[in-house]
């Protein structure tokens, strides 16, 4: 799927110290993936809790803005852990990533999700965002959940497609 112009970069990744070390250490990949999955649980859990609130589900006793504000630092920390743990995993098997469809799709969706979060999502969950029409916020909530879920699924798909 990726253009051949990316090939030298992926080949270089596989030759770096980080890539070689993770590939040659038997327990490194599953250990890093454990942290990746734990951080995914925090991020995706937060996205679910915050966005299902727009449908009146889940944490009903707190407002949308309150829940989003309380969980925001956890979401950012888990996103950082996901990126930091994801890089060595990708570098240890760059050719698998280069040849798969899932990896480039995942990267594009991730970029989209980060942009969406810091622009639209953040504005709409700010405390004074009460003017927001319910329909609009529900659509935004659906989009957020769908986007992050697809990123998780695309990640699972890297070794397969």
């Amino acid at each position: 799927m990726l253009s051949e112009s990316f090939l030298p970069f992926f080949e270089w990744c596989g030759r770096t110290w980080l890539g070689v070390t993770v590939r040659d250490t038997v327990w490194a990949f599953p250990l890093i993936e454990t942290f990746h999955l734990l951080a995914l649980a925090i991020l995706l859990g937060t996205v679910l809790i915050v966005n299902l609130r727009a449908f009146g589900l889940g944490a009903r006793r707190s407002s949308y803005a309150q829940i989003a504000g309380e969980l925001e630092p956890w979401m950012l920390v888990s996103l950082a852990v996901l990126i930091v743990s994801g890089i060595p995993m990708a570098m240890s098997e760059p050719m698998k990533c280069y040849e798969s469809y899932s990896f480039p799709i995942k990267m594009v969706l991730l970029l989209l999700a980060i942009l969406w979060h810091f622009t639209v999502q953040r504005k709409w969950t700010s405390p004074d965002a009460l003017r927001l029409t319910p329909m609009k916020s529900k659509l935004a909530a659906c989009f957020s959940i769908l986007l992050w879920t697809c990123i998780g699924i695309a990640g699972k798909g890297i070794p397969y497609v």
Binding site: P30, L38, A41, L44, G45, I49, R61, K156, G157
Partner: protein
């Protein structure tokens, strides 16, 4: 009948071997298993962290529990169901793996921990619900729960690559 015999029989069932042979069924079920993990683990961790007093100190433990425990149950049920299907497809591999055995034991210990917590200190929540710090027994239960679930995830990953 040995446990290994049961595992071999389970794995040989047409639907179970079909999952293993199909190119997409195993990763899709595994994906659902991972998504269910997110629905369960983080709400559970929020309650654990509140018990430890690390987050939402001004919110009552009973409120946090009422808000997040339903998620834990829905997520846990989906995890057990999807996990059981994954197990059936790879029953013999799981049976032979020390990581799988540790994983099952850890889930059992997590269940015991939750049961003891609910029967003892949580049953008496009215007496400490208004305080920002939970009793030490509740903190121990929260800390143990966090550590055990991290171990469960680690064993699951180790199992996949062993």
């Amino acid at each position: 009948v040995s446990i290994l015999g049961v595992c071999q029989w389970l794995q040989s069932l047409p639907w179970a071997s079909g999952i293993k042979e199909s190119s997409w069924q195993f990763p899709v079920i595994e994906g659902i298993h991972s998504l269910a993990l997110s629905a369960m683990l983080w709400p559970a961790a929020i309650l654990d962290l509140r018990l430890l007093g690390w987050i939402m100190p001004r919110r009552r433990v009973s409120t946090v529990a009422a808000q997040f425990l339903p998620w834990v149950w829905i997520g846990f049920t989906s995890m057990v169901l999807s996990g059981a299907i994954l197990f059936a497809a790879e029953a013999v591999k799981c049976y032979n793996s020390p990581f799988f055995r540790i994983k099952i034991i850890l889930i059992g210990v997590a269940g015991m921990n939750a049961l003891v917590f609910h029967k003892t200190v949580f049953g008496d929540i009215a007496s400490w619900d208004d305080s920002t710090t939970a009793p030490w027994r509740a903190k121990v239960a929260g800390g143990c729960s966090l550590a055990i679930w991290i171990g469960v995830v680690a064993m699951g990953r180790a199992l996949a690559y062993a």
